[in-house]
C-alpha cells in the first residue's frame, strides 16, 4: 500500500468558462479550460491580445468569478468562495504582480513590500527583516524610504515582486510583468523570479507577450480565443491535457 501523501496541484481548473454578457453577442473570454499547474512550476501563458490570458489569471486569483467550472488553489476549491474567504486566500497563498506595477503611491517602497505582512499582522521586526532580506536579494537596498514616484520602472517592478513574495505565497500570478521594462531590466527581473522559484519553491504563472519570458518558462501554454492551443513543457515535452 502506498502510504505517501500526494501534494495537491498548485492550480487546477475543470471546465472553466468566463463569458462576458455583452451586446450584440456575449464574449467567451475563457472556454472550457482544464489546467493543472504543479507546485514549484514556472509557467508562462502566451497568446495574442484578447486570448484570455489576463482573464485566466484573474479567475485563478479570485478577482473575477467564473461563469462555469471549478478552480482549486493549493487543493482548496475557490470557485464558490465568499469574497471574504477569497481575500484571506489571496492574502495567505497568492501573490500578484501587475504589468503597471501598481504600487500604492502613498506608501514607501518598504511599506509597499511589507503590505501583505502588515495585513497579516506580522510583527514589525519580522516584517522588516523579511522585506530587507528580499530588498538585498533584489538589489533594492537603499531605496526603502522612497515613494514609488521616485523609483524607476524596473525598481518599482522589483518592489512589486518583493510585495508579491514577501508573505511566502504558494502561487504568484504575474500579468505581463516585463511589458513595461527594457531588455536589461526584464532579464534582471526574470533572474530574480527564477531564483525565488528555485530557492523558495514558489509557483509562478505569467501571462506574457515577451519572447524572453517565454524562453525562460519551464512550461509554455499558448492561449487562443480563450482555449489552450498548445501546452509545452520545455524539460519534458507536451503536457497531456
Amino acid at each position: 500500500m502506498n502510504d505517501t501523501i500526494s501534494t495537491p496541484p498548485a492550480v487546477r481548473t475543470e471546465d472553466l468558462w468566463k463569458v462576458y454578457p455583452q451586446e450584440p453577442e456575449p464574449v467567451e473570454a475563457v472556454k472550457s479550460l482544464d489546467l493543472i499547474v504543479e507546485p514549484g512550476d514556472f509557467v508562462a501563458m502566451a497568446g495574442p491580445s484578447g486570448s484570455g490570458k489576463t482573464t485566466v489569471l484573474n479567475l485563478l486569483g479570485g478577482l473575477t468569478r467564473p461563469t462555469r467550472g471549478r478552480i482549486w488553489i493549493d487543493g482548496e476549491e475557490v470557485s464558490d468562495m465568499r469574497d471574504r474567504d477569497l481575500a484571506r486566500l489571496r492574502l495567505e497563498r497568492i501573490g500578484f504582480v501587475f504589468q503597471a506595477y501598481n504600487l500604492l503611491p502613498v506608501l514607501t517602497a518598504l511599506e509597499n513590500a511589507e503590505f501583505t505582512l502588515l495585513l497579516r499582522g506580522t510583527p514589525a521586526e519580522e516584517r522588516h527583516r523579511r522585506v530587507m532580506d528580499l530588498f538585498r536579494e533584489m538589489g533594492l537596498d537603499g531605496l526603502e524610504d522612497r515613494r514609488p514616484g521616485r523609483l524607476s520602472g524596473g525598481q518599482q517592478q522589483r518592489v512589486a515582486v518583493a510585495r508579491a513574495v514577501a508573505g511566502d505565497p504558494a502561487l504568484v500570478l504575474a500579468d505581463e510583468p516585463t511589458a513595461n521594462l527594457d531588455t536589461a531590466t526584464s532579464a534582471a527581473l526574470l533572474d530574480v523570479m527564477e531564483r525565488l522559484n528555485r530557492e523558495r519553491g514558489t509557483t509562478f504563472v505569467f501571462s506574457t507577450h515577451d519572447p524572453r519570458v517565454m524562453e525562460r518558462a519551464r512550461r509554455l501554454i499558448h492561449l487562443v480565443d480563450g482555449e489552450i492551443e498548445s501546452d509545452v513543457r520545455r524539460d519534458a515535452g507536451a503536457v497531456a491535457p
Binding site: 473575477t64 484571506r88 501598481n102 506608501l107 511599506e111
Partner: protein
Amino acid sequence: MSDDPVWRRIAWRNLGRHRGRTLITASALAFGYLAAVLMVGLMDGMNAELIENGTGLMVGQVQVHAADYLPERNMHRTIGGYEGIDLAGFLRRLESDPDIVAAAPRLYGGGLVSSGDQTLGGVLFGVDVRREGEVTTLLSTLREGRAPRAGAFEVAMGSEMARQLDVKVGDQVVLVAAAADGSMGNDLFTLAGVFSTGTPALDASHVLVPLPDLQYLLAMDPGRVHEVALTTTRPWDTPVIAASVERSLSAFGPPLRVRPWTELRPELAESVELMGSMNWVIIVIVFAMAIFGVANTMIIGTFERRKEFAVVRALGTTPLGVGKTVVYEGIFLGVLALAAGAVVTGPVLVWWHNRPPDLSGIVGGFAWSGSMWRPILRVEYSWDTPIVAAVALFVTSVLAAVYPAWKATRVPPADALAD
C-alpha cells in the same frame, strides 16, 4: 491583530496627495463650524437681549408674592396679609441669600390719572426708587426730568400717557384710586419725569409713584407691598433659585410664592425656547449642506483610486478594509477641519461678542413677546454650542465618507485593474 494602523496610515497620507482639495474641503467644514457656532451665538444673543429687556425693564428675574396674589392681583393680598410685614427686615432676609443680588418692594394700584380735561386709566406702580434701580432698568429709560422723590408727591409716567394727557415735566396731575379701606384716594402729584421704554403698552399705561406716597394714597400701612422683585447671581438658573428662595421662606408665616421670570412671562419663555430649538435647525441645515460637498469630493477621490482599491483587494484586503480607509479619511478630515474651525471660531466669537455690530443707524428696534429688541448683532457664547457643533462637524465628515466607502467596497477588482 487588527490591520487598522495600515488603513489609518494610508488614509492620512491620502489627504496629503491632493493638498489643495483637502484644504478646500476641510475649509468648507471649518467654515460650516464657524457659521453654525456664530449663527447659534447670534440667536443666543437675541435670546439674551429678549430676556434682559423682557425681565430687566420691569418684571425682574424673580418675584415674591403672597401665595394668593396672582393671578387676580387683588389689592388686599399683600405680602404678610392685612398686617403687612417688617419690610426692611424682609428685604434684609432676602438679600442675605447668596444667590440674591438685590430686592425691590412694589405696590400696585389701579386708578385714574387726570390733567385738565383729560383723564386716563392707568397702573399706579409704587416703587422704592433706589432699590428699583438695582433690579430693573425702568428708571434708566427716563427721557425727560428725573425720578420722583418719596414724600414730595411726585410721579413719573410713560411718554405716551404724557402725550395723551398733554402734560410735561413740572405739570400737575391728579391720581384717583380705590383705597384699601374702601374710600377713594385722590391727590395732586407733580410730574417729575417721563420715561420711554419702547414698549408702547407700558408707555401708555404706567405711572411710577414712590412707594410711601402710593401706600398713603391707597390707605395702606408702610409694611404692605404686593411684590418684591429680585435680581439673582444666575439669571439663567432662576427656576432653581426661585424654588430655593421659596423653601427658605416657608417658615416666614403667611404662605408666599416665589416665581422665576419663566413663569411670570411664559410667552417670553416660550419664545426663548422656540429660538433655542432653532439652534438645532441651524446646525442641521449648515452641516446638511456641508455633507453633500464633502461627500462629492470624497466620491471623486474614491473614483480616482478605483485601481488602488482593486490592487489592495488583489493583495488580500477584504472589502471592509477598503471601506475603512475611506472612513478614516473622513475622520481625519473632520479632525483637521475641527482644529481649523476651532482656531478661527474662538477669536471671531470673542471679538464679535465684545464688539457687536450696531445696526440701529440703519434699522430700528422692534418689540417681540412684549420685549424690546435692539438691532445690535450681539453674539453670546456658551460651552455647549461649540461642543455640539464639533460633534455635528465630526458626524458630518464621517457620514460624508460612508457612501464613498461603500462605493469603494463595491469596486470590482478585475474591471478596475483593466482600466
